[in-house]
């Protein structure tokens, strides 16, 4: 049987001002307005957010899981790239 699924949208929620949007899941919706509405209903029922982004899943370009060795392993031994040698003032949150 032919299945006519609505397009899939990835949903990103910002839990409060100052924080960044975080991926929280996905919804099916026929259009952008509906994606935002149902994302609101599915993911912010318990005051989880102050802002919603919806992105068509098919518009997301993802890295190839099989390419992990060449993409990520080379960073393994480059500890000097971590800025752990700096002292941050306490007022700097969310770093």
């Amino acid at each position: 049987m032919e299945r006519k699924e609505w397009p899939l949208w990835e949903i990103f929620i910002r839990s409060k001002n100052g924080l960044d949007h975080k991926h929280c899941g996905s919804v099916h919706a026929t259009d952008a307005r509906m994606a935002l509405q149902v994302a609101r209903d599915v993911y912010t029922r318990r005051q989880e957010g102050v802002s919603i982004w919806a992105v068509r899943a098919e518009d997301i370009v993802a890295s190839d899981p099989d390419a992990k060795p060449e993409l990520f392993d080379p960073a393994e031994d480059k500890i000097y790239r971590h800025p752990t040698f700096y002292k941050l003032p306490d007022e700097v949150d969310h770093m």
Partner: protein
């Protein structure tokens, strides 16, 4: 609502608030019937959310009505322990869900009305009612938008969705006559500044509803003299069945809590 009763509660004032409370209660109960049955998970949650909004409004309004009445009846007593003829919701609210198109058409017709109603009630002389209106107005904006979008999607959608939306509009449209029928309760409530006579909202309601129906490519039925009287407690055959389900638990287990 812990607010003390107004110094003078007129029967019309109480009746006016009961109509609002019962409209929210019965519409919310109907929407809740969708829980677990909606066509997709996303809409299942949307419908349940809306149902909870309406039940929440009903709680505040019926609680306030109980205070206005001053006979010790609380929101639960009013919601669950009255008889069919004592409910004051417009008949449209109790109409069966039938299918998704019916539910969305009905939700849109009522939602557009609620939006206007709460806007006006924010300026009510009844401060408790004005506070309820301010909270409910935000919810009503979302209800009107969500259902309005669906009316357009269904009406201007597939052949089947259009047919179902048109069938729903044909059946439900005549029931909107009752929303705007003039009556003494409204006149008295309006004179006291409690809220608008519902008939005052007719023009603005049509201005809000008709463009959406047009965009949905739906044909608006001609107005007929058809009149229903749910606001006066004379209901369709549907309310009794709804109440049987809704009241079953509190009547079987009086005072039950969980």
């Amino acid at each position: 609502m812990g607010a003390p009763a107004m110094t003078q509660t007129t029967p019309a004032h109480l009746e006016y608030v009961l109509r609002l409370g019962d409209a929210a209660l019965i519409h919310g109960q109907r929407l809740s019937e969708w829980c677990g049955h909606a066509p997709v998970l996303e809409e299942d949650l949307a419908l349940a959310n809306m149902a909870l909004d309406f039940v929440g409004q009903a709680r505040m309004l019926l609680s306030h009505a109980g205070t206005l009445e001053g006979k010790g009846r609380d929101e639960d007593t009013l919601a669950f322990l009255r008889h069919e003829g004592q409910y004051r919701n417009p008949t449209l609210c109790e109409m069966p869900n039938t299918d998704f198109a019916h539910t969305m058409i009905k939700g849109f017709l009522l939602g557009s009305f609620n939006l206007l109603m709460w806007s006006r009630l924010c300026g009510s002389s009844d401060k408790a009612l004005a506070a309820i209106a301010a909270k409910s107005l935000k919810e009503a904006r979302y209800h009107a938008e969500h259902t309005g979008d669906w009316v357009i999607r269904l009406g201007d959608g597939s052949e089947e969705s259009h047919r179902r939306a048109q069938a729903a509009l044909d059946i439900l449209w005549p029931y909107t006559n009752e929303l705007f029928a003039a009556n003494p309760t409204d006149d008295a409530a309006a004179a006291a500044g409690v809220g608008p006579a519902w008939s005052e909202l007719a023009e603005a309601w049509e201005a809000a509803v008709l463009p959406v129906l047009q965009q949905a490519t739906l044909t608006v039925p001609a107005r007929t003299p058809f009149q229903t009287y749910g606001k006066f407690g004379r209901h369709s055959e549907h309310l009794g069945h709804l109440l049987a389900v809704m009241q079953h638990l509190p009547r079987s287990f009086p005072g039950a809590t969980w």
